[in-house]
Symmetry: C2
Subunit: 338 residues, 2 copies
């Protein structure tokens, strides 16, 4: 049978209240009693019951994660698991548990959020932005339930979020290409309803504009998806336009490594290799010797860490909490096998 606080109390000849106060190191208990009780706790191998504690404290000391990403993405893009490790690390530091629920069904994320909130099994929620999360955000706002978002949401008023400066990152990576002498640079965007898509496009546009380079409508592919297929599709279009006389770009800025991989694959198929490609997430990608690939490491684990920090800050009612964190991204030159 499990040892309870009462067993300890009895063994130490004090009341349960005293034991409770010893555990929380309350200043109202004398050192002498503390010592004695601590010894008994040690001897009996007592450990407070987290659930009873939660009930009494009206706080579960748990945060919930909602993963409603498609399995394919979840599995191939290390972003999520990296973010999860970051979240877990900060949570552990603060004595919080982390729950997650994966669901493939559309709208399932809302169901999970509702369940989390209503059952009281978590004190707060971390969302990964995605097209369907807005419903979640609305719901959580309305419920006045603590949450934070990885990725800048549409409406940021009153929302805690963490993200990279996607404008800046794309600006830099584009600029990086320009410095290398590229002038004709294509762009592949993400889903239209993601802020990240807009920001990355604007960053690309700004860098091009600053240097006085024009943006070729035929080389900008907006409203895409963060997938290999989209990358391949766009590159195929570029290549077939080239067959019909259009000038080939010398570089392509994509919004995701999966896209970039698609682009590279399309190039390989057509035996084209002198186009520099950039992506986001620093996924493991094997490069041919004559390929040039640059990725932006978004520092996913740090994003997770900060999201947890914001959320737990909010839960514990920390004053002057920042409303968001911008996590620095890093440009990574991926080396081909010589």
């Amino acid at each position: 049978m499990k040892i309870t606080i009462n067993d300890v109390a009895r063994a130490a000849g004090v009341s349960a209240s005293t034991v409770s106060r010893v555990i929380s190191d309350s200043p109202k208990i004398s050192e002498k009693t503390k010592e004695r009780v601590r010894k008994v706790i040690e001897e009996l191998g007592y450990h407070p019951n987290a659930i009873a504690r939660s009930l009494a404290n009206q706080s579960s000391k748990t945060i919930g994660l909602i993963l409603n990403t498609e399995a394919e993405t979840l599995v191939r893009n290390p972003f999520f698991i990296q973010a999860m490790t970051g979240i877990s690390q900060y949570a552990q530091e603060q004595g919080y548990n982390v729950m997650f629920a994966y669901n493939k069904s559309e709208d399932g994320d809302l169901d999970i959020a509702v369940r989390y909130v209503n059952s009281g099994s978590v004190d707060g929620i971390i969302l990964f932005t995605s097209r369907t999360n807005d419903k979640c955000i609305d719901f959580l706002m309305k419920s006045n339930f603590p949450f934070s978002v990885i990725g800048r949401p549409d409406h940021t008023e009153g929302v805690l979020w963490v993200d990279n400066d996607n404008f800046q990152a794309t600006y830099q990576v584009t600029n990086h290409l320009i410095m290398k002498g590229h002038k004709r640079i294509a762009f592949l965007g993400g889903p239209r309803d993601h802020n990240v898509s807009r920001d990355r496009f604007e960053g690309y546009k700004a860098a091009m504009t600053v240097h006085g380079y024009s943006i070729d409508r035929n080389l900008t592919f907006l409203e895409g998806s963060f997938s290999e297929e989209f990358g391949s599709k766009c590159m195929s279009e570029i290549l077939s336009a080239h067959k019909n006389g259009a000038e080939l770009p010398t570089a392509i800025v994509t919004s995701d490594d999966m896209q970039a991989l698609g682009v590279l694959k399309a190039m390989r198929k057509m035996n084209v290799s002198d186009v520099a490609v950039t992506g986001f997430n620093n996924m493991p990608v094997s490069l041919y010797k004559n390929e040039s690939f640059t990725s932006v490491d978004v520092n996913a684990s740090q994003l997770g860490f900060c999201a947890a920090k914001l959320l737990i800050g909010r839960i514990e009612g920390i004053a002057d909490l920042p409303a968001h964190y911008i996590v620095p991204a890093e440009i990574v030159e991926v080396e081909p096998l010589y």
Copy 2:
């Protein structure tokens, strides 16, 4: 303020016990009352408090995952996140939550297991086998705490586990190569203290032996690690031995896709491409046109699903529960770009 069972009871003009019994659909309550109470529940938007429930039921309806894998592996090998989605799916079906904790420190996994067990915050634990898990297993066995293991542990008596038939899988993949005409086949193993390493080696050995092919000591690399480095290192050795006159193998059976990737990279460096390579896990790997790569898809999500099934079965005291599941693995021919 949150609505409690008492609010419902009051509003419906019944006692809390009745409401509780309506929720659990007890046959002791008349249909008439059930209807009435349900209506009130609906109207008030009542949702039972999971924590209070847990306390009363002495069960948290939560399972804990211990991830003590190195960050590098966790991130690059989709195995873990896939297994996690499988676990989450079965858990959700059964009304269980899933908690996870990531820790990088050596031995941290034991700490987490101890915390999980003592605090009563989970009803059971799923372990991913790894060299340090034996301590965890010992601890959990001693505590008589429900757990299941992904990967066959050393001592299986009284342990619930799921795994592929690694012997069989490696036998098949080796056989597959032999059928294609390969005779001189190298083997790369995993860490010595993993059962999986032994099984895979035995599978390879058996297939070779059955066909009467000898096993060249210089082509079997045991006591390795599931890493790219190890793969590269072994292949480099093979290649330099070749420079000194040794015959090159025509195929290499590895125990992990990361190893296989290392092998491929070493080959690419040396401009060797006519060696067939096999791996495990069906990781995304980009292939050169003239490379041949076969992977074994271990069906990680199914492994997770089954691990959850065993664990929850154990928690709920299901009779005649199997002690383990063998999940079928599938040989996947990875296509090079066209």
